[in-house]
């Protein structure tokens, strides 16, 4: 018995042998990595001295990228699970407006407003998922309906209650609240103060904030983005549930046969997307102090674009959260970078379309070449 145990086990015939290089090539995030390098090289060449890479500039495109990342994580996991959510943008507007209505109009404490809004949006996410599962309709259509319904309420409620479409004054209401800084606060402010004093980063030149560093901390938005990316990545690649997500998106029926609770997985992913949208909305409302009926317009497509640039397949079953995060980074850097490079702003959409197309073609090409699909 002891002798047999010591001999090297015969190679498992079910597992195909692959070189480490080849394995690195078929990672879904490869396209995202190449794109990130290309984009940074481009802007380092064309916009280096434009302020894009000073502390304010870096914070600027990091914040925008972080916004995209937050919604991309949810959209990515949902897409891998084989579904879409087109209501992300409307959910952002809706959640923000609900927080404003609960806290400002109805006078609830801000923490309660935030928690109730999260509960509400998770319920709507679950409802989206439930309808998709029960009716068997494409999620594209179901969430398109949610897009209109939520946007409609977002305009209707504030008009009904306050006779306007933007509700402000949340910053004042949120002062001293324990939950608000979790979304709208900044961390490492001491470090940045010190950096400002030592002259590593610039300070304001005049006015009441003279002497303060121009960047006074890392916004919680960025912290949330990083936390969500790590959570999504670990969930997808290190847990049983992650395998279920891949299985549900790859072939739902086959997954059901082997005992994967496909319905539960999909509904949970719809809820996660709604959760991410609400995190986005809460951070935005807490930072800016007001909720507007037009917040989050077209953000659902921006999330999907980031995910696709990051190498996920629209058909589900293939993708990576890290890739989606890189896609969001590319998106944010390009969007803000074009301003730094003084490119006419109406051309932004042209660039966006070109980059999307290039990313998708490149990803498909690489995948076909490596996996030998036709």
């Amino acid at each position: 018995m002891a002798e047999t145990a010591e001999t090297t086990p015969a190679p498992d015939e079910r597992v195909k042998q692959m070189s480490a290089f080849r394995r690195a090539l078929i990672r879904p995030e490869l396209g995202g990595i190449c794109g990130t390098i290309a984009v940074f090289t481009f802007f380092l060449l064309f916009a280096f001295d434009s302020g894009m890479f000073n502390s304010q500039g870096i914070l600027n495109w990091s914040t925008v990228s972080a916004q995209f990342m937050i919604i991309a994580v949810g959209a990515c996991l949902l897409m891998i699970a084989g579904e879409f959510d087109l209501s992300v943008g409307s959910m952002i507007g809706f959640s923000g407006m609900m927080i404003a209505i609960f806290s400002v109009t109805l006078g609830w404490p801000v923490w309660a407003a935030i928690l109730v809004t999260f509960a509400l949006s998770l319920a709507i996410g679950a409802l989206n998922g439930f309808i998709v599962i029960r009716t068997g309709l494409p999620s594209f259509i179901v969430t398109l309906a949610a897009l209109f319904i939520l946007r409609g309420f977002t305009i209707y409620f504030p008009q009904l209650l306050e006779n306007k479409t933007i509700i402000g004054g949340i910053r004042e209401t949120a002062e001293g609240d324990w939950l608000a800084p979790v979304f709208g606060g900044k961390i490492l402010t001491g470090l940045f103060d010190w950096l400002g004093q030592t002259g590593v980063i610039a300070t304001f030149e005049r006015g009441t904030r003279q002497g303060d560093p121009v960047v006074d901390g890392i916004p919680m938005l960025i912290v949330w983005a990083i936390a969500l990316v790590i959570f999504g990545h670990v969930l997808l690649t290190r847990t049983k549930f992650g395998n279920w997500i891949f299985a549900a998106g790859g072939d739902a029926q086959a997954a059901r046969y082997v005992g994967v609770p496909v319905n539960r997985v999909k509904i949970l992913m719809f809820m996660l997307t709604a959760f991410c949208a609400t995190v986005f909305a809460t951070c935005q409302v807490m930072e800016f102090g007001s909720a507007g009926a037009d917040r989050g317009l077209l953000k659902e497509f921006e999330a999907i674009i980031a995910v696709v640039i990051g190498g996920a397949l629209l058909t589900g079953g293939y993708g990576s959260v890290l890739g989606a995060a890189l896609g969001a980074l590319i998106f944010g850097v390009v969007q803000q970078g074009l301003f730094f490079a003084s490119v006419e702003s109406s051309l932004f959409r042209v660039f966006l379309g070109v980059i999307l197309l290039l990313a998708v073609i490149l990803n498909t090409y690489i995948r076909r070449m490596i996996t030998g699909e036709r």
Binding site: C34, A38, T41, F42, L45, F46, S50, G51, M52, N54, Q56, G57, L59, N60, W61, T63, I155, Q159, K164, T165, I166, G168, I170, R171, F204, E205, R206, G207, R209, Q210, V214, Q284, E287, F288, G289, S290, G292, A293, D294, R295, G296, L297, Q336, F339, F340, A341, S342, V343, E344, S345, S346, L347, F348, F351, I355, L358, L362, Y365, I366, M369
Partner: protein, 316 residues
């Protein structure tokens, strides 16, 4: 595969480089950036773009126009933050949402960038933010003046076609108009959306449901054109009292043909042109006007349309 990658990267870099070279206005001297809240689809802002370009040329300064593509004010805040990081000499911006833009604009002021508020906002808000001045048309007052004019002309009930209901400043025009008329706003404000055929159909539907309506106010070219078509289709053109904010080719034609009673010109040209001139002279010679500038309202009727017609959509 690497060669393909390299080719793709090179091709996009070359394409982008040529675009960058083509769109950067090269001029000596100061650099000013104008940030608006208008979505790409809003043609009215073309006048603003033309006016800053003209001012930039005449004053020999570098000017740039930026806007959030979807009109999302939160995105606009990021653009202002970006502008601050890039460090131009002056920032000209609209104040579409005071709460959202307060922080970024105050940061701009604190970083040593001179700010002028244009178009939306109020003189009080401009002063609070530490901006040099406000150049624009106070919206509520303009609506109020229009309402009082309509009341004198015998209007008793009205429809306000709002193509951008999420913008509070546009709603103020309707509210001012209602107060000027001395009626309740109530259900008179129509959320029309920006699609021309939707606007047209919604206006027709409203007028058939509320046949007693004897006045219409549209808030810009986006809603004025389709509303005119709607009136033509149902035979009420020229019969119903029709006033509009802002100008444009179609509105000028409408005023000429008698379908539109008057257009309120807030003269966007001045809103974009004056700040560039003022900032340049301030930076070069240290001179600054002592007051805010009201660029409107000016009522434009069938009399004296010639200049307006010549430059409608370009500088008017």
């Amino acid at each position: 595969m690497t060669s393909t990658l390299r080719k793709v990267a090179l091709a996009s870099a070359v394409a982008a480089a040529s675009l960058t070279a083509a769109t950067t206005v090269s001029a000596e001297g100061e650099k000013y950036v104008l940030v608006s809240h208008a979505p790409d689809s809003d043609s009215w802002w073309n006048t603003v773009k033309n006016a800053i370009a003209l001012a930039g040329e005449q004053m020999d300064v570098e000017v740039e126009y930026r806007n959030p593509p979807t009109g999302d004010v939160a995105d606009m805040a990021r653009i202002i933050e970006q502008t601050v990081a890039a460090g131009p000499d002056g920032l000209i911006t609209t104040l579409a949402d005071f709460d959202v833009l307060k922080g970024p604009i105050m940061d701009a002021v604190a970083s040593g960038i001179d700010v002028i508020i244009m178009n939306t906002g109020t003189p009080e808000q401009a002063r609070e933010l530490g901006a040099l001045m406000y150049v624009g048309q106070p919206e509520y007052d303009a609506g109020l003046a229009a309402g009082m004019r309509a009341k004198d002309d015998g209007v008793t009930s009205f429809l306000c076609v709002n193509h951008s209901i999420q913008q509070p400043t546009l709603g103020d025009r309707c509210r001012g108009f209602a107060d000027g008329l001395g009626v309740e706003l109530g259900e008179s404000m129509l959320d029309s959306g920006t699609d021309p055929s939707e606007i047209k159909n919604k206006v027709q539907a409203y007028l058939s449901a509320n046949p007693e309506t004897d006045g219409i106010l549209t808030l810009g070219p986006v809603s004025a054109g389709p509303t005119m078509q709607a009136l033509n289709d149902i035979g009420l053109a020229g019969d119903i009292y029709f006033g509009t904010f802002d100008l444009g080719d179609e509105i000028v034609d409408g005023i000429k043909s008698g379908v539109i009673e008057w257009g309120i010109d807030q003269q966007p040209f001045l809103q974009a042109y004056m700040p560039v001139v003022i900032l340049t002279n301030y930076h070069r010679y240290g001179v600054l006007p002592g007051n805010n500038i009201n660029s409107g309202p000016g009522f434009i009727t069938a009399d004296g349309l010639a200049k307006v017609e010549e430059f409608a959509g370009e500088y008017r």
